[in-house]
Structures are given as structure tokens and as C-alpha cells.
Symmetry: C2
Subunit: 451 residues, 2 copies
């Protein structure tokens, strides 16, 4: 019935019930249980999205937005079935103002496509979660990644969002000005709301100038704790690093084994420095001194792009090295804690993995206190999976106890719902109140964030 | 009746009905009509604030928070009388973690006091609205100022807020981690909400390292438009400036006249560069080249603190020079627009002031598209006041039409209520819905933001 309505109002080309589309929209890159939607819609414009929400509201049908499907917490899985909205056909640049260093895009554009279009103007969109996610998906999950230490997360890049509310109203949450003290700050509220408060149809982003000069560096430490402390030393020094990543020894070994590399097999720190050439050269010198004072080995730098890639190889290939273990599945954590708590938490994570008896690694964006664990278990081995998940759970609880968060960048989705009460306490009721007000019929991505 | 309740529950020392206290809490630094509260409370701790809100809720009495009284839009004026909460006795540092570069404070601490405590650790809290405002007031209005071009506004400094809701519930809006994707982003919602959604009792802030080296510069331009364009050129160059301020010729003349100075009397740009010494020296050289290419005069730099003060004199003394014209009052605007619209808007503002036949100046934080006008009128001269206010109004409407905001940093309070519908459109209903949910009895700063 509602599908016929969608066909009548959008036309058959914008609707699919094909096996392959239903399957594609049943999952993301996580191990959460796949659920197929009843139908997939491919809107072209905001009016199409309004139509979809109108039909959903009339028939009380769940609506779940889908970007590139690269999420890690099941946000796009339509757990209560219904309509999946795919943004492949809403991937245009609406307006680009190089002089304002801003761009307005539709949600379906991916970050790499966006960068292709702005790079030639000397500008970049720096947020880099690894995957070539859509800007809509990154906004909806408040994604970040390796450059957050310098640029913050998605919410810090947003000037304005066009959002379609559950009742079809189109709102703008901000303006094109760089700052504002007018009214309540709704942009931040919709960022990271995972499609539970409204459907984002346009996003106005800050862009940044491409730095004149980039230098990469890598060094190793015997102890994981020193490695974490070293990242802390760099931050305290005021060196404005672009990226700072930690990869633990187990993961380096995994990369070596998988690719037959011979990278120095110790806990490693990877750096990217970017800015004016003379400034960077000074800063790299200072970083080297600081790291050597802490007893690092294998300090190495590269300014040539090919050598840079080589130097960062272990970091780039780490998830790949784990993901491709045949017959294995994995669970990952992405806790974020105050920097001072990081060494303790990383050591705790290593201990949890050892105790689980499973293979697993630790790496992360240690510049902002955010790191990942990845624990491998035999596909369909429920007992191993339980052990792997309990590592995740213990780590998330410890992070919250250390006044951090259960998720630094992946979002809540399905996997972090169980930690919401512990993390947010009484503010969870405020969140639920906002949800209730904006989506009284619970059609917007039901079953996510709140249980 | 409710005052007796407050006395019974808080004790007499925490309550005042003295003439002088009622008067102090009747106004801020704006020309909005003074209104005295019925009573002023001086809480000591969160429990006192809970008590006040509890009494307010039982007797349905308005509650308005008061910081330093340095606001410019009447946010602290208790327009419906009731209780004014003064935070003079809640001005402590709750927790300071130099290694995390974070600090948790009570709302009554002023930004200068805060800096006194963290500067000795090589850290600073950079947001500088000019006045020595309280951190609570700055948070509640999402203040910013001269350093926003580098650090953003208050909301960008906040990791966590402790807020007492109208019903007395204590919530925390965030954690101490640098980033999070867990739940809805409530911190940004309470920042800039002007005490209409809850009363802030603790604020956890990011701190920043004090830069190694600072250099100031100043130059002048014959045309106001070129001056605005020049600021735009600096931004596009990628030079990471700390402050960039424009002061128009009329205002320079005013400062000269008031103080008997002989500063070069043209439209002026003021710069502060801060960072690693070698980097800064390079950047200042580049800035000089760029400004000279655009035809600037009087390029001058200073690295010595005394000389720096001298160089920035006109900027520092501008409001003072206007405020002290005897028998005069003033109204000011603080629009913020996309950088590309700035030259046009500044020229438009100048034209409006000329047409009004009144004396007035333009200056501002042009690095983020935010500038101020100040138009003088005879005290008690209603006709002149009307003309002065119509400059403000026309400028705010033009800013909104240029996809900017009616207030870049002062907030809505009483003066910008009339622009809310035009600026926010249908999202105003969402804001009102949130207000309704969190403050169904309308006890929290009624008569502000929404009419």
C-alpha cells in the first residue's frame, strides 16, 4: 500500500525492490545483524524526500537514511524494516564559494569527490574517517578520524544544514556566516543524530586551505605506555600536528605477516606535519628531539609523497591486514578519553585482549584521546564472539568511568545503545524529549541510539 | 511568600533586597529599559541553585541568571521581575588538568581570573569579548570576540556543562574527552541559550598553549572597501592570524580627538600573529607584501609588549572614546556575514550612518565576517534614538539577506528578538518546542529570544 503510494508519487525509477538493492541496504561494514528494508527510494531533490516522509508519516512506516554503507555501528540497518532512503542521486554541489571557503553539498557526495572539486582551488575538506563515506553519513554520525586533532570532528565543520523534519517541514539550522549567537544552536543537535531527528538534504561546510608543505614521520617505542605518553608530550609542546596515530606492536606484526613486509616491529607513532615550509621544518626538528628524549627508535621522516606513503604503510594497511584473515570476523571499539587517561586505557585494552585469548590490535587517533581496538573471532563462533564483544564492553565502561565516551567517532547506532544510560545519565531524558518532540510517530530510524 | 521560602531554605546571607543590589541587577551595559528583580540570590553551590529553581517552580516565579552584567543585549534584565541569580560566590576552579589542557570552573569566574590561574602553566583561555565577562555569561551568550578567527566562539571551547533544569534535575551535557559521537550534542544547545533552557553551574573548557612569540601589525587604507577586501586577502593566504580587526576612519578620528592622539587617520587594519618565532617572522613578511600590493600605507609592526600596546591603541580605546561623549547614548550592531559579503556590508553600514545624520563608527572582527557599528544619539532624544536604531535594524536585515546572522556574538536577548523569525524561519518552531519541553512553566529568563 505505502509502496504503491511511493510509486505513484515518485515514479517507478526512484523506487527499487530488487533483491540486490534490498540486500545492499540491509547492512553496513559492521557485524550487526542484517535486516532488509521493504523498499529502497532514490530521491533526486528535497521535494522527493518530503514526499517519502509524508508517505511514511501517513502509513507509519520507518525511514532510514543510507549513504555509502561504510558505517561501523549499524546506523543504516532498517531494524524495523520500512523505507531505506539512498542518496546516490543527491550527490551534487549546490554552491561553492572559494572566497568564503565554504561549500554547500547534497548528502550523497562522498568526501573524496568533494575534495576532487575543491582541491583545484587550493582548498580541502580535511575530515578523514578512512572510508570514502558520504558527507551526509559523516554529518549524521559526527564522524572524524585522523585529522580531528587539528580540525575537530564533523560538527565543527558545519555552518548550516537543511533538514526535512518528520512532518515534512524544511528547516535551516544555521546561516553561511562563520559564527552566530542567534537562537539555539540546532546545527550541532542534528549533527550526530543518526537520522533520528530529521533527514539532512543539504550541508554547508567550512573548507580549509591546502597547507604549503607536508612532512611525515614515524618512530617506535619498546613500551606501549611510553608510546601513548609520547603522543601526549607532542600535544603539550604546542606543535600543531595534522595527524598523530598510534599502532601497537601486534598490529605491526599483523601487517608484516599479511604483506610479507619487514617494518620495525614495535609500538609505533606516525606523524603528519603540515603548514608553511620553514615552520614545519622547525617543528619536525623539535618533535624528533622530544621523541628521542623519550627513547624512541627508528625515527624516520619523508617529504616526498611516495616516501610518505611508504613510511605510513603500516597505518594505512592495518584494518585491511586484519579484515582479510579468512574465516574470521571482528569487533572494534572507538573509545575516547581525556589525554591524561590514554596511557592507562591503552594498557588496559591490551590486557583485555590478552586475557580474551583472541588475536587483536590497538591503534588510533591518539592526539584527541581516541583509539580503536579490533578483536578477531572465528566466523559463526558464538563463544569467541562473546569474548570479543566483552573486550569492547569492558573498554567502553572503563572509558566512561575515566570521564570519556563510549564512542569518539563511530556513533551509537545499535552497538553503543547499551552504554547510553551510563554515559549520559539524566541528560538522556532530555535527548529522548527532543526525539519525542521531533518524531512523535517514531518513523525516523527507530531502534537507534535509544532502546 | 516565595522570598520568605528562599530565606528559609538558603539563609538570609544568600538573599538580598537592598536598593543597590536590586539596581545592579536591573541592567547590563545596553540601553535596554532597566527592570529590577524582586530579589537577588547569591548561591554557593549547585544545591543552592536547585533550591532556587525549586522555589521558582512552586511559586511560578521568573529566574534570570546574572554574571558580570557586561552584556549588550539585555539578557540579564529580569523583564518579568522575580529572582536574579548572581554567581559572584560561585567563581571557583573545580578542577584543573594542565596535562589534558582542560579546566572545570563555576560560572561566576571571569575570563581574566581564569587566565591568571592557567597562564602560569603555559596555558591560556583565548576567548576575548573585550569586557572581563564571567565564563558563565560568555557560555550562555556564546560570546566570542577578537580571537574567534583562530579559536571560534565559546561553544567551540566547551567539553561539558553541568546544567540545572527547570525541574531541578542536574545534567551533564558532555564528557571530558576531546570529542564524542555519543547521543545528541546538548552542549552546543545550552551554549548561547541565554539562561532560557537551564542554569549552568559548571563549565569544562578546552585550554590552549600560550604561543611562543607574538607580533602585532597595523596598516591603513584610503578606502573602507579595500580595507575590508584586504582582510579577506589575508584569510585566503592561509596565514594563521590570531586577531584581525578593522577600525574605520571616523572611529580613528574619534579616538584622536578624545585623547589628543595623532594616529594616522585612515581606515585601519590591526593584526596579531602568534606562534613559533621563525614561522611568525615569515608570516608577517608575507602579510606585509600582500597588504602593500593592495596599496596600504603606514605598515608598522611591534614585537615588544609596550610597543604592541601603542600600535593597537586606536583599537583598544575605540568604545571608550565613543562611550565617554557626555550627554550621548549609543546603539550598536554585531552582524556577521560570509566573508565575501563583508566589503559590501561595511560600505552599506557606512552609508546608513551617513544618512542617519548621526555620529557613528564601524569596527570589528573582520576575520570571521563579524563587525560592529556604534551610532551615537542625544540622551533622551527619542527622535535621534529612533534614527540610530533604524541603522541597526536595516543592517541586521541586510545581513540576514546576505545569508548572515543578526548577531555574531552579542546574542539575542531583548534587542534581536524581532529578527528571529526572519533569520530562522521554520526552525524557530523547533527552538520553541525545545524551550517548551525544558521550561513548560516559563520560569527561565522569560521574555528573551522569543517574543
Amino acid at each position: 500500500m505505502f509502496i504503491q503510494q511511493l510509486i505513484n508519487r515518485l515514479g517507478t525509477q526512484k523506487i527499487s525492490k530488487s533483491e540486490s538493492e534490498l540486500y545492499r541496504h540491509s547492512h553496513d561494514e559492521s557485524i550487526h545483524q542484517k535486516v532488509e528494508p521493504d523498499v529502497v527510494c532514490f530521491p533526486d531533490c528535497r521535494e522527493d524526500v518530503q514526499t517519502i516522509l509524508n508517505v511514511a508519516s501517513i502509513y507509519n512506516i520507518p525511514v532510514t537514511a543510507f549513504g555509502a554503507g561504510t558505517g561501523l555501528e549499524g546506523q543504516v540497518i532498517p531494524v524495523e524494516k520500512g523505507i531505506s532512503i539512498n542518496f546516490d542521486n543527491m550527490n551534487r554541489v549546490v554552491e561553492f564559494s572559494p572566497e568564503d571557503m565554504t561549500i554547500t553539498v547534497q548528502p550523497g557526495i562522498t568526501r573524496m569527490n568533494l575534495n576532487k572539486q575543491v582541491n583545484r582551488h587550493g582548498l580541502m575538506f580535511p575530515i578523514d574517517p578512512g572510508a570514502d563515506a558520504t558527507i551526509g553519513g559523516m554529518t549524521a554520525t559526527n564522524a572524524s578520524g585522523t585529522t580531528a586533532v587539528r580540525f575537530g570532528s564533523m560538527k565543527d565543520q558545519l555552518l548550516d544544514l537543511e533538514v526535512i523534519l518528520a512532518d515534512g517541514t524544511v528547516i535551516h539550522t544555521g546561516t553561511n556566516a562563520k559564527k552566530s549567537s542567534s537562537g539555539y544552536h540546532l546545527t550541532g543537535l542534528f549533527a550526530g543524530s543518526e537520522g533520528t531527528l530529521g533527514i539532512i538534504t543539504e550541508i554547508t561546510l567550512r573548507l580549509h586551505g591546502i597547507p604549503e608543505y607536508t612532512m611525515m614521520a614515524r618512530c617506535t617505542f619498546d613500551s606501549l605506555e611510553t608510546c601513548a605518553e609520547a603522543s601526549h608530550t607532542i600535544l603539550g609542546s604546542g606543535i600543531p600536528i595534522m595527524r598523530m596515530e598510534l599502532v601497537d606492536q601486534t598490529s605491526i606484526a599483523q601487517v608484516n605477516k599479511y604483506n610479507n613486509y619487514h617494518l620495525p616491529c614495535s609500538h609505533s607513532l606516525f606523524f603528519e606535519f603540515a603548514g608553511a615550509k620553514t615552520a614545519i621544518q622547525e617543528e619536525v626538528k623539535l618533535a624528533e628531539e622530544l621523541m628521542k628524549d623519550l627513547g624512541c627508535d627508528n625515527w624516520d621522516t619523508a617529504s616526498d609523497p611516495t616516501q610518505q606513503k611508504e613510511l605510513w604503510k603500516a597505518r594505512h594497511e592495518i584494518t585491511y591486514a586484519y579484515n582479510h584473515l579468512s574465516g574470521m570476523d571482528e569487533v572494534g571499539a572507538d573509545v575516547c578519553v581525556p589525554i591524561s587517561q590514554l596511557p592507562k586505557l591503552i594498557v588496559y585494552a591490551r590486557k583485555l585482549i590478552e586475557e580474551s585469548g583472541l588475536n587483536g590490535g590497538i591503534w588510533g587517533h591518539v592526539g584527541d584521546g581516541n583509539f580503536h581496538t579490533l578483536v578477531m573471532f572465528g566466523k559463526n563462533n558464538t563463544e569467541e564472539r562473546k569474548r570479543a564483544e566483552s573486550v569492547n564492553e569492558a573498554l567502553a565502561l572503563k572509558a566512561i568511568d575515566s570521564r570519556g565516551t563510549c564512542t569518539g567517532e563511530h556513533g551509537v547506532g545499535l552497538g553503543k545503545m547499551k552504554f547510553q544510560e551510563k554515559e549520559h545519565g539524566d541528560s538522556l531524558a532530555v535527548m529522548k524529549g527532543i526525539k519525542e518532540m521531533l518524531d512523535p510517530k517514531h518513523v525516523l530510524n527507530p531502534g537507534k541510539i535509544f532502546s
